[in-house]
Every structure is written in structure tokens, then in C-alpha cells.
């Protein structure tokens, strides 16, 4: 028995020092093969007295377990080492650049239109559209701006025919006319879109964007107009407080008419909306003129309401600090990358208007 114990200690020692998987396997067959040392010891059990056998067998089994366990652990140990070594060799430089990311962008005008639509959607407006080419009637006459009226001079119009019958709409207001002609009151719409005036300098582009608003119902008054615009401006500029001023003005298609200024100041070269003593004109609005309602077959004695028109590009410039209107339309890759928005950045109420 002491022999076998000695052998065990010897092999444990051997295994401890061994690092080669084949050699460990050799040891395994040396011990447990057909003529292995341990196997032979078991064979010897038959020649031992019964009293001794029990004890011997038990010892022998313990030794066997111990050795087998040791071999198993050793094999695992070596294998782990080998794998680790292999993986170590496979190491790559993860700081190398990834495959090209293709970053697309949404144009600021589109983003601002979506912001505006989201805000007005919250207070129940739906979106209407109209064609870019309009007839003279929808763009002017129906809007209480008869021919030979100086108010037409306020709009430098692009014409498509010499009779001045077809033109590029000078504002989004003809969508009011179209909407009211094809439907029945009440109306509650906004109409964003392209508008055109033959005017081009640093602050004017021959094409720009407006959003029209129209709310007609039985008892809509100027208080609702003020409330609606106050809500919109606050939401749009994402500020808690807004300074807003209604100033009497004149548009042929609204009466009374107003221009709306918002308070601002310049801080560190940047415009801060809602503070300060300076005023910035941002939109025109008013109560829809009874003549307009008559022209679109809505009874002005029964229905009344407000309309407004906002310059989208200008709002975007104010909110996002863009200085040059012309750059909106010049497709400079650098400008688009800089001022564009991520396509996943969809303005919404629950996710927030902007990041």
C-alpha cells in the first residue's frame, strides 16, 4: 500500500510539472491503461484477504479518483492556456477605422416644417397643400386683392403668361381659398410650402417657404389668434417665456390685421428669443376678411376666424442661428452637413421637438 501511495505522490508531482497535453495523455495510459500501474493494482486485489481487501480497495479508489481528477484538471488547464495563447495571437487593432458611415441629413427647412406641423398637430390642426403654380384669382382676387390695387405691389410676382393669369404663388394664402372652396366649415389647417417672389438679395430669395394657418368656426376671435400664436412661438423656440407684441398692420385678406413681433436680445453675438427690449417681426396675421369668406362661399355672418402666415426659413434661421438665407438653397455640401438634421431626429411631442 505504501508503494502505491508513493507512486501516487510521484505522479501527482509529475503531473504538476507537466505542460504538454500528449505527455499528460501518456501518463494517463501509464496509470490507467490495460497494463497501467493503477489498473494492475486493482487486478492484485483478488489475491488479498477479504479483511484487507475492503480497506485496500477503498484506498485504491481514492487514489484513482485523485489521479484522474488531477489529469482532468491538468488537461483543461493546458487547453485553456493554449486557447488563450491562440486568441492572443489573433488580436487586432480595434482603433483602425470602421467601415464608412453614410450620414444623411434632413434640410433645415424640412426639419422646421416638421417641427411646425408637430406643434400645430398638438392643437388639432391638419396639414393642407396647394400647387406652386396658381391662378391670379386664388392668389390675389379671391384674397380681396383686386387687380389695379397697390397692395399687389407688395408682392413681386413671377408670371407664367403675358396675361398675368398664371403665376407662382406669392404666399401660401391661396391654400386657404382652395381649402375653403372644396370643404365646409369649420376649418382648422396649416399649409406649409414653397412661395415665390421676384426679389433677390442677401435677405430675400426668389423662392422661400411659408406656413399658412387658418381656423374658421362659429366663434373664433382675436383672442384665439393671440393664444394660438403665443402657444406656437413658445413651443417652437422651446422657451418658457415669450415676449410677443401684436401690432396693427394691413393685409388685404385679413381685417383687423396684425404683425407679430417677438422680443429678443443679442447675448455673446447670439440671438436670445424671449428676452430683451428689441423686437423682431416674425409673422403676419388677422381675422379673415368677410370679403374672402364670401368669395369662398362661407357665410361671414355665421362663421369667422383667423389666418396667419409665417416665414419658415426665417424661423429656422432664428432658431438655429443661420445667418444667410441664400445659403439655404445653394446646396453647399459643407453647409448641408453642418446645418442638416439626422433623419431619425423626427420632431414630435413625446420625444421632444428637437434634441
Amino acid at each position: 500500500m505504501s508503494d502505491i501511495k508513493k507512486i501516487k505522490d510521484e505522479y501527482i508531482d509529475k503531473l504538476n510539472k507537466e505542460n504538454n497535453i500528449d505527455k499528460v495523455n501518456n501518463i494517463k495510459s501509464e496509470l490507467f491503461g490495460k497494463n497501467g500501474i493503477v489498473s494492475n493494482e486493482f487486478k492484485k486485489l483478488g489475491s488479498v484477504s477479504i479483511e484487507e481487501r475492503k480497506k485496500l480497495a477503498s484506498d485504491l479508489n481514492n487514489i484513482k479518483d485523485e489521479l484522474q481528477n488531477k489529469i482532468l484538471i491538468k488537461i483543461q488547464e493546458i487547453e485553456t492556456k493554449e486557447i488563450n495563447l491562440k486568441l492572443e495571437k489573433e488580436k487586432i487593432d480595434v482603433t483602425l477605422p470602421e467601415r464608412d458611415i453614410e450620414i444623411g441629413k434632413i434640410h433645415p427647412v424640412s426639419q422646421v416644417i416638421d417641427e411646425i406641423s408637430s406643434i400645430f398637430s398638438e392643437i388639432g390642426f391638419s396639414v393642407e397643400e396647394g400647387p406652386d403654380v396658381e391662378n391670379e384669382y386664388n392668389n390675389f382676387t379671391a384674397l380681396n386683392t383686386p387687380d389695379n390695387h397697390p397692395a399687389r405691389d407688395m408682392h413681386d410676382t413671377f408670371y407664367l403668361d403675358n396675361n398675368k393669369e398664371l403665376l407662382l404663388r406669392t404666399h401660401t394664402s391661396p391654400v386657404q381659398v382652395r381649402t375653403m372652396l372644396k370643404g365646409k366649415p369649420p376649418f382648422k389647417i396649416i399649409a406649409p410650402g414653397r412661395t415665390y417672389r421676384s426679389d433677390s438679395d442677401q435677405t430675400h430669395a426668389p423662392m422661400f417657404h411659408q406656413v399658412e394657418g387658418l381656423h374658421i368656426d362659429k366663434n373664433i376671435n382675436m383672442g384665439h389668434l393671440k393664444g394660438c400664436l403665443n402657444y406656437f412661438i413658445k413651443e417652437f423656440f422651446e422657451v418658457d417665456k415669450i415676449k410677443m407684441r401684436f401690432r396693427p398692420s394691413h393685409f388685404p385678406f385679413t381685417e383687423p390685421s396684425a404683425e407679430v413681433d417677438i422680443g429678443y436680445e443679442i447675448k455673446n453675438g447670439k440671438i436670445v428669443i424671449g428676452e430683451g427690449n428689441k423686437w423682431l417681426e416674425i409673422l403676419g396675421c388677422g381675422m379673415v376678411h368677410p370679403n374672402v369668406l364670401k368669395n369662398v362661399k362661407v357665410n361671414p355672418n355665421k362663421y369667422q376666424g383667423y389666418a396667419f402666415g409665417i416665414g419658415i426659413d426665417r424661423l429656422g434661421m432664428l432658431k438655429y442661428g443661420i445667418n444667410d438665407l441664400r445659403a439655404f438653397f445653394e446646396t453647399d455640401y459643407r453647409w448641408l452637413s453642418h446645418f442638416g438634421f439626422d433623419p431619425l431626429d423626427v420632431p414630435s411631442n413625446y420625444r421632444g421637438l428637437s434634441r
Partner: protein, 802 residues
């Protein structure tokens, strides 16, 4: 409309200071554009001292002067004056100045080889006197400490510049502005002094207003002033004219202008001696002409309202006078005109002839028809006072009488419109101060509209007057009403939104370009659409509406390539115009992609963008927007601006006749014509209008969830087939062999050349077969295999590759 506060105070008793007046003007709708000292052309002239005068090296009679112009600055001026000498204080005009005498603008110039920076002035050059023999000699004791300062004191008051909306002609005169301010509580409107003018004799130049259909004049008032001495205006009048930003001309002209701006009453003064016998107000005949006071000759059309005499046209009534009867310093007798012209007639004529004058601007907006006499009297008084003379009786010819506008106003409309209430008493007070005559009839107010307010015709105009004067700050800010009448966006608006963001998410930068474009580029993309020219384009290279979105996109792509960008993906979503009528437009996405993929990549092989890149972008975008991928059909018919062999059309399903999208390489001829320098250029376009809304909402289609857990098998086939045979068709043949069992067919290799006969190609496909009822055994699979092969061979003429 410009005026000074002083001028305003001629009409308004007020305790308001300037800022209060400015705020009040803004609050009642008279927008203040600016409030500043008017600049004058005379501002540039300054007091200067000749430090050193020496003889010009190349001309004995000229002198070279070093001139001290203050601020330690000395400049060199060439001067021809004999009195230029050391130490002389005089007046210096720097380059850019306009010399009053000849209206010449000075520039830096070389005089006999020496550069002269400006000029030293004589009294005559500054129109101070006729003294032209030498430069001005300023008194030492008065000017020695003023070197560098302005010679002409701009003592003018600050000028208020109002932007008057077209509905308010009455505020194109200072009195009208004063009236508005008084109504708003900013003071009291002064009562006009009764005139104690003495008239002598009759206006003996006969005036006739012809009764014609197109007659643009309804009242012609006049008086004759005999024996005047036309002189320069006195300072107070000059100052008024200057504050308007205008140039004083002579007392008579200045007075008529002054009255126009004071009362909004345009007048015209004729040299009575130049009038041939009589005045005839009539419509012009085509071809008549006259030389106007702007020194231009105008050739008239039919039916323009002219003031004429027996010899012909004297002037365009209410727009501009003529040189033939103009007043001069020598004028002795004048005929003063104060008339009423119809706004439409004025506007039409001035548009046709492209003339804009202060009188025209006023008449087309509407002048008070009852101000004829007032204007004549005020101007005559001033003329008599400044130029002397005798004034005849006033002669007023009319072909139409003024009709009062009367409005029966229900004060309830005010509250109904504005949402707040103003007591009747206050309301009446406001209206009366604005010049309305108010009488009460139970609840209704009977209002006689003042004759100077042609803009007021109905009750809503009265509401505006009251709320404007009362103040917009009284309007409440009500909580928005959140009621919704219908969904925010309709299907096509949602589609717009989806596709826009979907394309952007493929790496394209969205741009917005003009709806118009250059006809020369448009031509390349126009196909069969009509060209839509703009009658008055902003420039010749933006002269047509775009028939396609590509002309602008390609133009700007080229600009960016020229900026040095190589790999560019751009798109725009917007209108493409198909005709010139409203609605002849489609909403289109156009996208361009240029350059390479994996340029300078350390791990991937770089390659030029190709048709299948944009095909992926377009198909994926469409799928993301909700189009069923399996229904999509591709064909190879595309517009002519695509590469005929490398482009395709996309159809929503096999029944659609119209392609909703195209993709592919752009035609090489276009690249060449537009000189685009890029390795590769592929484009795609989607026409949103051609996309059909799915009949099923997503909430209804989601419920059909079906799947099979039985084992699926994959089989590969390779067919030798005609080169022109489309893979799409092959896939369809295979699928239709057994629609139930064949789950998918994937083309994984296309090969031509070696071992493949001429005119043929090899297509290898991988077919996934799976039953929804059982696990297929070898026998089942064999049968499917055979069926696939036989279907393909019989329907396409292909041969299975062994």
C-alpha cells in the same frame, strides 16, 4: 412717409416726447421704419486749412495744396484758384462728394500727372453765390477751431420714416398722421386757421374735363396766380423739403411739394403763359407723346388721362407734369392745379409707362376728393407770401359728385371679432376723433366715413379702426382650442415624410433647390413635357420651371465636385412641373450619388458606385415606406437621360402601367455635355403621386402571422440561358413552379464567357423549399427539382448546367 416731429406739431398739440410718439405710431399701425437725422449730400463738405500751397510741377496756373482736414490728417489737393494760399481756411470736398452746382460726383483723379484727393470749393460750386473766381475764404476767428468739421450744419431735426400700408393714403400727409395720433390720445389735432386770402379776378384759362368713358379725372380745381417772382425757398421751407429726403428746387415747386406732404394733397403748378389757350382734361390717343419733368419722353397709349392744351399734351394727370409748361425762375404767372384722379386710371397708366412719383403713389391709393380747395388755398397763401402775386377766384370743374359712405355699425361686431368689449362712449369718441360723423339709432351706430378714408367701406373696417386705436394689447390671450377635425397628415403627406427620412437615412444629404432652373439644362431632362418659361425670370439661367428635379441637382452636384468633394450623395423632394396650369406638378424625389464606395479603405476594396447601389436605396426606401417588396416588378424602360443599358423602372406590382421609380446610371452624353468630372454617377427618382395607397391598414395586415416549423431544404441550380433573358423572369418561373413549396429564390451567381456559348449566360440560383404540412422526403424534393428544371427549360429555353 418722412416728416419731422416739428412738422407734426404744426398739426398736433402734444405733451408726448419723441419716444412716446414713436411708440404710439407703432401701436396704432403706422410702422416706424426709422427715426434718425436725415443724411444730406452736403454732409461731406468740411472746413479745411491750406497748410502749404506750392506751384504744380507741370502747370503754372495750378497749385498743389497740402490741406489740413483735421484729425492730424493732411491730404494733397490740386487747385486752380488764384486765392489758394498758405493758411487759408476754406471748404474741402472729399472724393465721393456731390458738387451742388453740377451734381458731379468727385473721385480721386490725376490732374496733370499729380493725384488730387478731392477739391477745394468756390461759393458758386456750392451754390452759395455766383462768386466763382476763387475758393471760399472763411473767416479765421469763426472757423479756425472748426477744421475737420462739417461746413454745412446738419441742423435738421431727426426724421421719422413711416412705412404706410396701402390702405392708408390719409397718412401720406402729416395732418393725417396727427389726426390718428390725436384719436389715440397722443394730443389734440389743431384746427386749421381760416384763410383770409383775398381773391382778385377770375381764373380765365378755360378748363374742360371731357366726358369720356375712360376719363380718369373727375374734379379739376385751379386758380391763377399772376405776377409772382419765383425765387429760392426760404430756409424753413428748404429744411422741410430736405427732411423729406428731397432737393429744394424753387419756391413754387417746393410749396406744391410741401402741401402734398402736409395735407396729402398733390398739386401741380403750370407756367400759365406757356399754356396754349385752354386746359382740356381728356384721354390720350395712342402715339401721343410729351417730355416729362423727369426729362424723359413718353409715348402714350390709348385712354391715359392727360392734361392738355390746344397744342397737345402738357402732362399725365396725377402722375407727372411736362417740361413744356413747367415753372422756372422766370415764371411770372402760374396756374395751380388741384384735382382728383381715379386710382385705377393712375395705376394702369403708371404701370404701362413705368413711372413712379409721389403724386402717383398718392392718387393710386386715393386722395381726399374734398381737399381740392383746401390744397389750392394753402398753396396760394404760401406762394403769395413768398413769391407775391395776385390770386384769382378758385375754379372747380366736376363731372361727378362725391358720395358719402355710410356704415350702419352694430357695436356687438367689435366684441364678437376681438373678444373684448369697449364701452359705446369710448368707441364713439375714437371714431369721432378719426373724423367720423356718428349718430345713434337704437343699438346701431350710423357712421359717415370721412372723405379721406377710401379704405373704409364696411363694418369690419370699423372694428379694425377701433381696436387699432384702442390698442391690440387689450386682446386676450386665450388657451388654444385643441379640438381636432381630421388627422394631421393624409396618406401622401405621410409618404412624403417617410420617404424623405428614409432616403436621408441611406446617407443622402437633403437639399432644397429652386423650383425654376436653366432651360438649357432642363432641356436634357425634359422628355416629352412642355417647357414652362417664366415671363419675368430673376435671371436668364433660372428662366423655366423645372420639368424634372435633376437639372438643379446635377448642377449643384457639379458645383460640389468642383469644390473638391468626390463622394457625394444628394437628394431633393419637391415639385416637378409637367404643365403650366395649377396642379400640373408631381411630388418627386430625385437622388444622385457620385464617386466611390470604400474609397481609401484599409480593409475593403474600393469600387465605383453602380446601378445596384441606387437600386438598393430606392427599393429599400420604398419598402420602408410600406410598399410590398415581393410585388415590385422591375423593367428596363427608362427616360432618355438614363444610360439605356444600365437603368431600370420600378413598378408597384405587375398590374401597374406607370413606373413609380427609376434608377440607374445617368446617360454618358449628359455627363459629357455638362462636363461633370466624376468616376461614377448614378441616380434614382421616385414619383410619390404614382404610389398607390395600400388598401389594408397596418393594424389589419399584422394579424396574418403564418410560419412553418417543418424542415426546409435548399437546392442550387445553374442554368445556361439567353444573355438578354431577365433574371427576374427566371425567378418568377421558378417560383410559379410551386408557389406553396418554394419559399424563396436567390440569384447568387451570373456568369458569361469561358465555357459559356456566345450570346448565353449562366445564372445560378439557390432555392429554398419548405412545406407547411410535413417534412419533405427525398422523393418529394426530387419531384420539385425536376419540376423546377422542366418549367425553366420549357418556359425560358434555358438548359440546366450539368
Amino acid at each position: 412717409m418722412k416728416f419731422t416731429v416739428d412738422w407734426l406739431k404744426n398739426h398736433l398739440d402734444t405733451k408726448f416726447n419723441n419716444n412716446q410718439i414713436i411708440d404710439k405710431l407703432t401701436n396704432i399701425g403706422l410702422e416706424v421704419e426709422s427715426f434718425e437725422t436725415s443724411t444730406s449730400e452736403l454732409d461731406t463738405f468740411m472746413v479745411a486749412k491750406i497748410v502749404n500751397a506750392k506751384t504744380h510741377p507741370n502747370a503754372d496756373r495750378l497749385k498743389l495744396c497740402d490741406v489740413d482736414i483735421g484729425g492730424d490728417k493732411t491730404i494733397e489737393v490740386v487747385c486752380g484758384a488764384p486765392n489758394a494760399k498758405n493758411g487759408l481756411l476754406t471748404v474741402y470736398a472729399p472724393p465721393g462728394s456731390i458738387i451742388p452746382k453740377n451734381q458731379m460726383k468727385l473721385s480721386v483723379s490725376k490732374i496733370r500727372g499729380v493725384t488730387s484727393y478731392g477739391m477745394l470749393c468756390s461759393e458758386s460750386e456750392l451754390q452759395l453765390s455766383n462768386e466763382s473766381d476763387g475758393i471760399i475764404e472763411l473767416k479765421n476767428n469763426e472757423y479756425s477751431n472748426k477744421i475737420g468739421e462739417k461746413y454745412f450744419k446738419n441742423t435738421s431735426e431727426k426724421v421719422i420714416d413711416l412705412s404706410i400700408t396701402p390702405n392708408r393714403p390719409d397718412c401720406l400727409g402729416v395732418r393725417g398722421i396727427a389726426r390718428d395720433l390725436s384719436a389715440a390720445g397722443a394730443g389734440k389735432l389743431k384746427i386749421n386757421k381760416k384763410s383770409n386770402l383775398k381773391y382778385r379776378g377770375n381764373q380765365n384759362i378755360n378748363v374742360t374735363i371731357k366726358k369720356e368713358k375712360a376719363q380718369g379725372c373727375t374734379i379739376f380745381g385751379s386758380c391763377l396766380i399772376k405776377g409772382v417772382t419765383n425765387i429760392e425757398s426760404p430756409k424753413w421751407l428748404k429744411d422741410k423739403i430736405l427732411s423729406l429726403g428731397q432737393k429744394p428746387i424753387s419756391a413754387i415747386v417746393d410749396i406744391t411739394n410741401y402741401v402734398m406732404f402736409d395735407l396729402n394733397r398733390p398739386l401741380h403748378a403750370y407756367d400759365a403763359d406757356k399754356i396754349d389757350n385752354e386746359i382740356i382734361v381728356r384721354s390720350s390717343s395712342k402715339g401721343e407723346s410729351f417730355e416729362a419733368l423727369d426729362n424723359k419722353k413718353y409715348i402714350l397709349e390709348n385712354d391715359m388721362c392727360v392734361i392738355s392744351d390746344r397744342s397737345g399734351v402738357l402732362g399725365l394727370g396725377g402722375i407727372i407734369g411736362g417740361t413744356r409748361s413747367g415753372t422756372e425762375y422766370s415764371t411770372k404767372n402760374i396756374l395751380l392745379e388741384s384735382a382728383f384722379f381715379l386710382p385705377r386710371s393712375i395705376r394702369k397708366t403708371s404701370k404701362q409707362l413705368n413711372i413712379d412719383t409721389d403724386a402717383k403713389f398718392r392718387f393710386e391709393r386715393g386722395i381726399d376728393p374734398l381737399s381740392i380747395e383746401e390744397g389750392l388755398i394753402k398753396a396760394s397763401e404760401l406762394i403769395k407770401q413768398i413769391c407775391g402775386g395776385e390770386i384769382s377766384n378758385l375754379d372747380v370743374k366736376k363731372i361727378e359728385n362725391y358720395k358719402k359712405t355710410i356704415i350702419n355699425f352694430d357695436p356687438f361686431l367689435f366684441e364678437k371679432t376681438t373678444g373684448f368689449n369697449v364701452e359705446n362712449k369710448e368707441l364713439i369718441k375714437i371714431l369721432e376723433k378719426l373724423g367720423f360723423n356718428v349718430s345713434k339709432n337704437k343699438k346701431i351706430l350710423k357712421l359717415v366715413v370721412p372723405s379721406w378714408r377710401p379704405d373704409i367701406t364696411q363694418s369690419i373696417d370699423i372694428v379694425e379702426e377701433i381696436v387699432r386705436i384702442k390698442g391690440y394689447e387689450y386682446i386676450n390671450t386665450l388657451e388654444p382650442i385643441k379640438t381636432r377635425l381630421k388627422p394631421t397628415l393624409n396618406y401622401y403627406q405621410k409618404l412624403f415624410h417617410f420617404l424623405q427620412r428614409s432616403v436621408a437615412s441611406k446617407g443622402y444629404l437633403e437639399t432644397v433647390t429652386w423650383s425654376f432652373t436653366d432651360s438649357k439644362i432642363n432641356q436634357l431632362f425634359r422628355e416629352n413635357d412642355e417647357e414652362i418659361p417664366i415671363v419675368n425670370p430673376i435671371s436668364s439661367d433660372l428662366n423655366v420651371l423645372r420639368n424634372s428635379i435633376f437639372p438643379n441637382l446635377i448642377f449643384y452636384l457639379k458645383k460640389n465636385l468642383d469644390r473638391g468633394f468626390k463622394d457625394i450623395s444628394l437628394f431633393e423632394i419637391g415639385p416637378a412641373f409637367k404643365g403650366k396650369n395649377p396642379g400640373d406638378q408631381m411630388t418627386v424625389i430625385g437622388a444622385v450619388r457620385a464617386g466611390k464606395i470604400s474609397r481609401l479603405s484599409w480593409n475593403d476594396k474600393e469600387r465605383i458606385v453602380d446601378t445596384f447601389d441606387v437600386k438598393k436605396d430606392v427599393i429599400q426606401s420604398l419598402c420602408e415606406a410600406g410598399i410590398e417588396k415581393d410585388d415590385i416588378v422591375i423593367d428596363d424602360k427608362t427616360p432618355s437621360y438614363y444610360h439605356p443599358g444600365k437603368s431600370g423602372g420600378v413598378y408597384q406590382n405587375k398590374n401597374e402601367k406607370k413606373a413609380l421609380a427609376y434608377f440607374g446610371e445617368i446617360h454618358p452624353n449628359i455627363i459629357k455635355k455638362l462636363d461633370i468630372k466624376t468616376e461614377g454617377l448614378v441616380i434614382f427618382e421616385i414619383c410619390l403621386d404614382y404610389i398607390k395607397e395600400s388598401k389594408q391598414k397596418i393594424k389589419d395586415s399584422k394579424s396574418e402571422y403564418k410560419f412553418s416549423d417543418f424542415q426546409k431544404s435548399e437546392r442550387d441550380f445553374a442554368f445556361i440561358i439567353n444573355k438578354n433573358f431577365k433574371s427576374q423572369e427566371l425567378v418568377n418561373i421558378i417560383k410559379s413552379a410551386d408557389n406553396k413549396l418554394i419559399k424563396s429564390v436567390r440569384v447568387f451567381d451570373v456568369f458569361e464567357g469561358e465555357n459559356i456559348p456566345e450570346g448565353k449566360k449562366s445564372i445560378a440560383v439557390n432555392v429554398t423549399i419548405q412545406s407547411e404540412e410535413k417534412t419533405l422526403n427525398e422523393n418529394d424534393l426530387d419531384n420539385i427539382n425536376k419540376l423546377i428544371i422542366s418549367s425553366v427549360e420549357s418556359k425560358s429555353g434555358a438548359k440546366i448546367r450539368s
